[in-house]
Structures are given as C-alpha cells and as structure tokens.
Symmetry: C2
Subunit: 305 residues, 2 copies
C-alpha cells in the first residue's frame, strides 16, 4: 500500500466513523420512539457510554464501503452499519462483565459495569442487541422488506449461537481446556470472525446483488476476520496497555491458546501477508472501485492498536 | 366463565404449549444451521434448560389464538410464538442473575446460572434473544417479507429500551426510590405488559389485517397485561413458594411498591374484574371466534400460580 492509499483510507475511515457516530447518538437519544413507553435515562446513559466511546468503527466502515462498491443506498447502509456497531458494543459490554473477562478499562475509559453497575451493564447490552434489530427492521431503513428481513437474519446468525455468542462460550471453555489448532480457528471464526464477515456481506445484501457477489464479499470478510484476530493476538504479545487502551499481555499470562502462541510471531506475520493477498485477490473483479476496501484489509493486518 | 369454557381453554392451552414445546426443542437442537459455524453443546444445554422447563406458554398461546382469530397461517404463528417465548425466557434468565434478582429457583428448578454458571447464563440469554430474531426473519416463517420485518420491529420495540428491558431498569431503580402510582403503572406496562401486548398484537401482524384490528388486539393485550401483573402481585402476597415454583412474599419483604401494596387486596380484585370486562368488550366484534382469547383474559386474572 502506498502512502497515498494509506492516507485516503485513514481519511475515509474517520469520515465514515463521524457519520456513524452522529447516527448512533441520535438512535441512543433519551426520547422514546413510536411504540415505546419511555426510555429510562440511566439505561440510555449506560448504552451511550458503551457505544459513543471513540471506537475506530471498523465494522461500520466495512458495511458502508462494501455497500458503496455496489452503489447501494448510502443512508440505508449507514443504518445497517449503526445496527452492527450496536451488536459489537453490546458484546464488549457483556464480555467485560465480572463473570466474563472482568475488565475495568475499555478504550481507556471505565467499562460500563464500572461506570454504572453490573445489572445496568447487563441490561444496556441486552437493549443494544435488541435495538440493532429494531434499526434494521424499521422502514426508516429504506430498503425493500425482503432485504431488511435478509439483513436481520444474517446479523442474527452471525451474532448468535453459531457465531459470536457461541464463540464467546468456546473462549470461556478454552480457559479450562486448551483447544487444538482446529479448535482455535473455529473459536476465532465465531467470536470475532462472524461479525466482520457479516460487515462485508451486509453491503451486498443492502445492494441486493446476485448471490455470487454476496459470497465473494463474505469470503473477503472471512479473510480479514482471520487477519484481524492474528493481528490482535500479535498486539497482545507486543503492545502495551497505553497503546491499546486496555490491558495487554493477558493471553500469555493466562497461558491462552492462540495461533501466535502455537506457531510463533514470524509464522503469524507470514500468515497475515498471505491473508491480505487473498483478500485483495477476492476484490480483483471490482477494479479501482475496491481501493478503500483493499486498504482496509491491509490496515487490519498491520494496525498497531 | 362457565366450567365448559374453562375446560376448553385449559385443553387448548395444553395443546398449544405442546406444539410450541416441540418446535422450541427443534430450534434449540445442537445441530448448526446454514450460516452457523458450530453450536457449542454447553451453550445449547443452558438455553434448553432456560426454555424447556414446563412453562405454561401463555404468551405463545396468545400469539396463536390471536392469529387464529384472523385465520392466519398456523405454522407461521407457531414460529412467532416460539420466538416470543425465547425472548421471555432470556429475560427470566437475566433477571435471575446474581447482579439482578439473584434467584436460585425458577419453576421449581435451579436457575440457569445455578445449574451452569453465571457467564453461561448471560450468554444463553444473549443467544436466545438473538435466536428470536433469527426465527422471525427466516423464510421458514412463511410470511411475506413485509410481515416478517413488521413482526421483528414490533418485538424489538416491545422487548427493548422502551419496553421490557427499560422496565427492568425501572424495577431496579424502584428498589432504591419507591415510584408513585404513575411510576408503578409505567414500570409494569414496560416490564411485563409490553411482551403480553406484543403477543396479542403479533397474531394480527401475522394475519396482515387492517391497522384497526391490530390496534384492538394490542389494546386487549394491554388490558390483560395489566391484569397479569395485578394477579402476580396478589399471588406474591397470598401464595406460597411450592404453589408458585419460586420464592414468594418477596415484594412485601422488600417493601416493594406495587398497586396492591398501595391500594389493598379488595381494590386489586375489583380492578381485575374491570380489566377482564374491558378485555372481553374489546373482543366483542369477533363474536364466538374469540371465545378462547376471552377465556385467556379470565384465566390471567384469576390464576392461582
């Protein structure tokens, strides 16, 4: 990636993040919607604390860029992006709970259960997950009902038992019995991979493109999902807490089974190189239009926080 | 209600519960669906523990009967009923957690976090909530996409910030600062009322009837939701734990603000009588077809467990 590509990507990432942040702020407003009785202030504040925290908004970026690749409706893609970010943030709130990873810090700020309390954190996560499906199904997401239903289904499947939540369960089990290589790959494909895959696939669903394109974008998402996790494991090994805004070195300290622990740093870097190559190759049919998505793949593999 | 009506209702309730139980068992199977990577056995077991526990399945009954009132597709209504039950059961699993009500027993069995562990209970709840939207959006729910999207939206709004989860937040706050009468009514309309209202409304959405009929069924749902909560508060005062399968007398012991505590038992019974009358009146336009729904309203107000 040239410096120009990198700069174009970083500019676009910041712009997309600002757009999704504005929408999320509106969606998490205290005012009740039609069909809602009231929005309790403390719950809304906890939801905002968990969502409006300066994240990079990588997943929303992937939704919006994959939608743009097919010239899909940008406003609809933005709402899908916001819904996905609600799911991602709910998962972080629940993962941070004392019964789970018991983390005090997230992006340099107190986690939701530290800033509020445990019950409120559980409920804020529940409410964000529910809100995600509200956003997608609402007619304000100006897509044919078929696509709204399709994107609800795809997100539910990526986030549920056979995806993210299932992956979190496997991760908890991995603390007791170390999984083998196939087990680690499955765990990661579910825990972090499924939502990233969905992010890339969602743009194709929003655009209503043929199944072949949707599958290609999903495969692109799987490749960068794998890269994302490898880079994360490398960062846990090499970065410090200030750089990451959260505790690091936890994997090694916990003797956690990761592919990096299994095969070493050099192998991991070679793998990352291969995954970026594979991701870029998948986007070849789309030519220059796919420039920012390709840059995103490179970014995911080489990020340093 | 005559004895005949009562028997017909109880027979129908048991039959509907058996149908929904069969479907839930299939939906909570260990085998992964298309788009799922794997279903972790421990997570699925925890979900089954929280769902397949011999509940009365009142909410599914209301969905199926309100759908039948408009001659809607029975299979689709059954799936909507199962999705709603997943949401209801997730809410019980999370409500029972140590950080919330800290309950050890539910329907005479150990709660999910007692039978498994706290992390698994949190995740099983998350997964059930997610599964509900999966069920509704899936084309297997053989409805036009418009109706699938509409039922996703209605459930999300009933279960979320401005409905059930918001109500649970208000309930936690009520332990610190006792709400006034309007506050109690709002809390209950959100915490327990919204899902019961949705149950009755959902049948109309499944059937795709005009807005007037949908609104009438929703109002019927609101009336019996209020009755349900009043009856619950009365039972907490008068029933014992063996009868209820869970701890009782908790409200009074906690000095909890309920309408029964505020106005007394006689007032509550008179209110219940009025609510049943109102619920029955709302169903007048549907004549004899509405017999079982009317019986359900009576049951909700007079149940003894």
């Amino acid at each position: 990636m040239t410096n120009d590509d990198e700069m174009a990507f970083e500019t676009a990432l910041v712009a997309r993040a600002a757009a999704v942040e504005t929408l999320l702020r509106r969606l998490l407003d205290d005012r009740a919607l039609t069909g809602e009785i009231a929005r309790p202030g403390r719950l809304m504040a906890a939801m905002r604390h968990g969502v409006l925290n300066g994240g990079k908004r990588l997943r929303p970026f992937l939704v919006m860029e994959s939608a743009a690749l097919f010239s899909a409706d940008g406003e609809a893609a933005l709402r899908v992006a916001a819904a996905l970010e609600c799911v991602h943030c709910y998962s972080l709130i629940h993962d941070d709970l004392p019964a789970m990873d018991d983390d005090d810090l997230r992006r340099g700020q107190p986690t939701v259960h530290r800033a509020f309390d445990e019950a409120t954190a559980i409920l804020a996560g529940d409410a964000l997950l529910t809100l995600a499906f509200d956003i997608l199904a609402d007619e304000t997401t100006a897509l044919p009902a078929e696509r709204r239903a399709a994107v609800v289904l795809a997100l539910a499947r990526a986030a549920g038992t056979g995806g993210m939540v299932g992956g979190q369960t496997l991760d908890l089990e991995a603390e007791r019995i170390a999984p083998d290589e196939a087990g680690i790959i499955r765990l990661q494909a579910m825990k972090t991979g499924a939502l990233i895959r969905f992010a890339c696939e969602a743009g194709a669903v929003v655009a209503g493109v043929p199944a072949g394109d949707r599958e290609r974008l999903a495969e692109f998402g799987s490749a960068i999902g794998l890269a994302f996790q490898l880079a994360d494991d490398l960062l846990d090994l090499t970065a410090d807490a200030a750089q990451m805004g959260k505790a690091t070195g936890k994997d090694a300290a916990a003797g956690k089974a990761t592919l990096v622990a299994l095969h070493g740093e050099a192998w991991a870097r070679a793998q990352l190189h291969g995954l970026v190559h594979q991701a870029h190759a998948l986007l070849e049919p789309y030519g220059e239009q796919a420039g920012l998505l390709k840059a995103a793949a490179t970014f995911v593999a080489t990020r340093n926080n």
